[in-house]
C-alpha cells in the first residue's frame, strides 16, 4: 500500500496578528493533528535512519544529518512548530505578535515547561539558545538563518526580537531544526554538549554513527503525549540492510527506501510505503557569470533541452513530480499555478540558440551522486535528450568525496539538492538573492531582489501572492538553475504503526516529529 500525501496549501492566517487566535484554537489540538483513530500508549518505536556518521555532534549548530534531525525533534522543544498541514503553530512560544512593519516580534513563552533535568523553561533559556548561533566568528550552520536578528531580549516570560529588516515569516524561522531551546547556564550561554532538552523523549544514550536510545519524558507539557514508552534510533546506511531490517521486523520504520526496489517493498506483507510530496528538489545550477551561461538564451535553451518526465520516471521511479525551474513546491501557499510548465522542446532550443547567435552548444556538467541520488544517471539522460535537440552535454563524473567543497559552486555547471524551506521568502533568500553565500548560480536580478525585500514585509496577502508569482516567473525564465524534479520523501513502516490523517511534508519522518505524532495500533 502506498500513501501519497501532499501539503494542502498553508494559510497565512495566524502568522502575524492572528497568532493568539491560533493559540486559542491550539488548546483543542495543540499539535494540530486531526486524529484518525484513538491513539494508544505504549511500545518502543524502533527507527532506522539513513544518513549520519561518527562525525555527528551534540552541538545544535552542527546538525545536518537525518540522524541528528530526528534526534533534534525527539529530544527537544522549539519556539514554534510547523503543523502537519504546513501552518505555523505555537510550541514553546504560547503566542506572538509583531509590529506592523514585521520588524519587532514579541513571543510569550509558555509557563511550566519542564526539561528532562527538572529545570523549568525561562525566557533566558530561549535567548541563550538563539544566541548560540549569533555573534562574530560563529561556526554554527544556522548563523545565516539568524543573521537578521539585530537584538533579542528577555523580560519576564516574553522574548522580544528586533530584526534588521521586516520579515512577516519570522515565526517559521524559529521552527528551524538548528534552533532547539536548551537550558541557559549562569553566564547566559547554553552548553552545546548537553543532552538535556524539553521535548517528548529523554536522551539516555547516543553513540554517533550507531544508535540513540530515548525514554518517554513523563513531565512533557503536551498532555497525553508522546504515545511511545521509548524510542530506539539506529543508523543503517546500506539500502538493502535497511529494507531487510524492516522486513525481518528488526525495526518498525525506515526513513528512506531505495527507489529502485521500492515496488518490491510495496508487495511485502505487513509493510506500508509512505510517499510524501514535499519541497525536496534536485537542481542543476549554472554559473551565470561564466560564458556561455551568462547569456539567458543559452540558459533557456538548456532548460528546454531536458526531459523532465523521463527523469521523474527513471531517476525517481515515479516518486516525484516535474519541476519548473523554480524552488517552490506545488503544496506551498504561493505556488505559481499560472506559470507555463516547461517541457522538452527541440524547436524552442533551436530558437534560443539562434537568439544567442550560436550554431551549436557544447557544455560540460560536473556530477556526483553526492549531489543527489542518481545524479550521474540523470546527467546521462539529460545529455541524451539534449543531443536530440542539437546540444552536446558532456557528463564529467566527479568523486562523491569532497563534492560540496570542490565541485558545487566551483564548477560552472553542476548538481545540487535542497530539502526546501517552509516559506517562499526563506527559500529565495537562501539561494537566489543577490550575493548570499548559497546563491549557487551567482545569479542577480534587480527586479527579483526588489520584489524579495518588498514581499518579505508585505502584509496584504493578495499583493504578496502577486509578488511571489512574479518572482517564480523570473527565477524560472531568467534564473541560473535548472530544477527538473521534486523528489518525494519515500519511507516505509510496519503495519503495527499508526499515524494521524495528515503527514507533515516539511521534512522526512512526519516533519521529524513522528516520535510524538505516531503510535502503535493496538
Amino acid at each position: 500500500m502506498t500513501r501519497f500525501m501532499s501539503n494542502g496549501g498553508v494559510s497565512r492566517r495566524g502568522v502575524l496578528k492572528g497568532a493568539t487566535a491560533i493559540g486559542a484554537a491550539a488548546l483543542v489540538t495543540p499539535w494540530g493533528t486531526p486524529l484518525r483513530a484513538q491513539p494508544t500508549r505504549g511500545g518502543t518505536l524502533r527507527v532506522a535512519i539513513s544518513t549520519g556518521g561518527t562525525t555527528d555532534s551534540l552541538d545544535p549548530g552542527s546538525w545536518d544529518s537525518e540522524f541528528m534531525n530526528f534526534q533534534a525533534h525527539t529530544r527537544n522543544g522549539f519556539l514554534t512548530e510547523i503543523a502537519t498541514d504546513g501552518s505555523i503553530v505555537p510550541e514553546l512560544a504560547e503566542s506572538w505578535e509583531a509590529t506592523d512593519d514585521a520588524v519587532v516580534w514579541t513571543f510569550r513563552i509558555r509557563e511550566g515547561v519542564q526539561f528532562h533535568s527538572g529545570h523549568v523553561l525561562t525566557a533566558e533559556d530561549v535567548v541563550a539558545s538563539i544566541n548560540h548561533h549569533r555573534g562574530p566568528d560563529n561556526t554554527s550552520a544556522a548563523a545565516p538563518i539568524v543573521a537578521d536578528i539585530a537584538e533579542i531580549t528577555a523580560d519576564g516570560m516574553t522574548v522580544t526580537v528586533t530584526l534588521s529588516a521586516g520579515n512577516a515569516d519570522f515565526p517559521f524561522v524559529m521552527s528551524d531544526y538548528h534552533l532547539p531551546i536548551l537550558p541557559a547556564q549562569a553566564d547566559g550561554t547554553i552548553d552545546p554538549s548537553t543532552t538535556d532538552g524539553c521535548g517528548p523523549f529523554r536522551l539516555d544514550n547516543i553513540e554517533f554513527g550507531v544508535r540513540a536510545d530515548y525514554t518517554r519524558h513523563d513531565g512533557y507539557w503536551k498532555e497525553g503525549l508522546p504515545y511511545f514508552d521509548a524510542v530506539e534510533q539506529i543508523l543503517i546506511f546500506d539500502n538493502a540492510a535497511r529494507q531487510n531490517a524492516l522486513i525481518s521486523g528488526e525495526v518498525d520504520y525506515i526513513d528512506s527506501a531505495d527507489l529502485n526496489t521500492v515496488h518490491l517493498l510495496e508487495r511485502a506483507p505487513g509493510i506500508n510505503v509512505l510517499s510524501i510530496t514535499g519541497m525536496q528538489h534536485y537542481g542543476l545550477p549554472m554559473d551565470t557569470r561564466a560564458a556561455p551561461f551568462d547569456d539567458n538564451n543559452v540558459r533557456q535553451a538548456l532548460k528546454y533541452a531536458i526531459n523532465r518526465e523521463q527523469l521523474v520516471e527513471t531517476i525517481l521511479n515515479g516518486y516525484g513530480t516535474v519541476g519548473n525551474d523554480h524552488p517552490i513546491g506545488p503544496g506551498q501557499r504561493f505556488f505559481n499555478t499560472e506559470l507555463e510548465q516547461k517541457e522538452f522542446d527541440p524547436d524552442r532550443v533551436a530558437f534560443y540558440l539562434r537568439e544567442a547567435g550560436l550554431d551549436s552548444l557544447s557544455v560540460d556538467i560536473h556530477l556526483a551522486d553526492a549531489a543527489f541520488a542518481g545524479a550521474v544517471d540523470a546527467g546521462i539522460l539529460y545529455s541524451e535528450s539534449a543531443a536530440a535537440a542539437g546540444v552536446t552535454i558532456n557528463v564529467v563524473r566527479e568523486p562523491n568525496d569532497g563534492y560540496w567543497s570542490n565541485v558545487w559552486m566551483q564548477k560552472p555547471f553542476a548538481g545540487t539538492y535542497w530539502g526546501g524551506r517552509p516559506t517562499e521568502d526563506w527559500m529565495f533568500a537562501t539561494a537566489y538573492a543577490e550575493g548570499v553565500p548559497w546563491n549557487e548560480s551567482y545569479w542577480s536580478n534587480e527586479r527579483f531582489n526588489e520584489l524579495l525585500v518588498a514581499a518579505r514585509s508585505e502584509l496584504d496577502e493578495d499583493i504578496r501572492r502577486e509578488m511571489y508569482f512574479e518572482m517564480q516567473d523570473i527565477v524560472a525564465n531568467e534564473g541560473g538553475t535548472i530544477i527538473p524534479m521534486f523528489a518525494n520523501y519515500v519511507g516505509a513502516y510496519s503495519d503495527a504503526l499508526a499515524h494521524g490523517d495528515q503527514i507533515a511534508s516539511n521534512w522526512r519522518n512526519d516533519g521529524h516529529r513522528m516520535s510524538e505524532r505516531w503510535w502503535f495500533a493496538s
Partner: protein, 318 residues
C-alpha cells in the same frame, strides 16, 4: 632461547618506527585530499564566514608540519587527542569500536581457523579425491564473490522473513555473551567464508609439499596410517607457512571488514575510519590508522615468533 627475546625486542623497536612512518604517510595522504575538515563537516551548509571561524577555532590555519608535530607530541605523551567533529576523546571512540572489531574478528577466527585447518588436512589426506575438489571449489567460490554478495546471500537464506538469525547486528552497548553470539553470527559466518579458502589451501599445499620428502616415505614404508603421518609428522613441519597465512588473515579480519560492517550494521572500526576520512577528522583518522598498523605489526611478530618456536632447529641454535 634468549635470541628470541632479542628478536622480539628488535621487532618491537622496528614496529614503533613503522607506526611513525605510517602516521606520516596517512597524515600527508589526508592532506593531499581536496577540502579540509571545516569545509567537509559543514558540507552544503558551509559559508566563507563559518568555515573561516571553524578553521580558526580548531587551529586548522597552522601550517601542516606544525599540526603534525603538535599531534606527534600529544602521542608521545600518550594522548590521542579529541575528535574535531564532536570533541569526544579519540581513545574513547576507538576503544569502544576496537572492542567490537576484536570480538567479531575472534568470533570469525574461532570458526574459520579450526575449520580451514581441518579441511586442509582432510584435503591433503584425500588429495585429488571428490572431497578435495569439492572443498577447494567451494572455498574458492566463496572467496571469489565480493563480501557484500556473500553477506546478502546469507541474509536471504538465514535471515529475512521467517529467518533464524537477525539481518542486522543491532545490539545495545552491553549485550550478553549469548546475545552477542546470536546477533553477530551472520557477519562472523560471512567473514569465515571469505578467509577460509586462503588458510585451507595453504594448509593443504604445505602438507602435500612435505609428503614427497624422504622421511615421510620412510614413515609410510614403516606402515604408518596416512592420517598419523600427516598429523604427527607432516603438520609440525608445515606449521610455519600456515601460521603466517593465519596471521595475515587475522589482520585482515581486524582492518578490512568495513563492507561487512556496513551490510550488517556492525559498529566496528572500519566505519569509524571511513566517516573520519570523509570528514577529514585528522585525529581520529590517525588514531585508527595507528591501531590498524599496530595490528599488522603485532600479528606478524606473533607469527614469526610462533614459526620460530615451531622449528626446533631455530629454537636450539648452536
Amino acid at each position: 632461547m634468549s635470541h628470541i627475546w632479542i628478536m622480539i625486542a628488535k621487532r618491537l623497536g622496528l614496529g614503533v618506527v613503522t607506526l611513525f612512518v605510517v602516521s606520516l604517510i596517512i597524515f600527508l595522504g589526508t592532506e593531499l585530499l581536496p577540502g579540509d575538515f571545516a569545509q567537509e563537516i559543514l558540507g552544503q551548509a558551509a559559508t566563507p564566514e563559518t568555515v573561516a571561524a571553524l578553521r580558526e577555532r580548531l587551529g586548522l590555519n597552522d601550517p601542516m608540519h606544525i599540526r603534525y608535530i603538535n599531534w606527534l607530541t600529544d602521542i608521545a605523551r600518550g594522548e590521542l587527542g579529541v575528535s574535531l567533529a564532536n570533541g569526544q576523546s579519540v581513545s574513547d571512540l576507538i576503544g569502544r569500536r576496537l572492542g567490537n572489531t576484536l570480538l567479531l574478528a575472534l568470533y570469525a577466527a574461532a570458526i574459520a581457523v579450526p575449520l580451514s585447518l581441518m579441511l586442509g588436512i582432510l584435503a591433503a589426506l584425500f588429495r585429488n579425491s571428490f572431497f578435495d575438489r569439492f572443498a577447494n571449489a567451494s572455498a574458492l567460490t566463496s572467496i571469489s564473490f565480493p563480501e557484500f554478495f556473500v553477506a546478502y546471500i546469507l541474509i536471504f537464506f538465514l535471515a529475512g522473513a521467517g529467518g533464524v538469525f537477525p539481518s542486522i547486528s543491532n545490539f545495545r552497548t552491553d549485550p550478553s555473551f549469548d546475545e552477542f553470539l546470536y546477533r553477530a553470527f551472520l557477519p562472523a559466518l560471512t567473514l569465515t567464508l571469505v578467509v577460509t579458502a586462503h588458510m585451507m589451501r595453504m594448509t593443504r599445499a604445505a602438507i602435500i609439499n612435505l609428503l614427497a620428502s624422504p622421511y615421510i616415505e620412510m614413515a609410510r614404508l614403516k606402515g604408518m596410517s596416512p592420517m598419523r603421518i600427516i598429523v604427527k609428522h607432516a603438520l609440525p613441519n608445515a606449521l610455519a607457512p600456515i601460521i603466517n597465512v593465519i596471521a595475515l588473515n587475522l589482520a585482515y579480519l581486524i582492518t578490512g571488514v568495513v563492507v561487512v560492517e556496513v551490510v550488517f550494521v556492525y559498529p566496528g572500526l572500519g566505519q569509524l575510519m571511513v566517516d573520519s576520512v570523509a570528514a577529514r577528522d585528522m585525529p581520529v583518522v590517525q588514531g585508527v590508522a595507528l591501531v590498524f598498523a599496530a595490528a599488522y605489526v603485532l600479528l606478524n611478530l606473533t607469527a614469526d615468533v610462533l614459526a620460530t618456536l615451531s622449528n626446533p632447529r631455530l629454537v636450539h641454535r648452536r
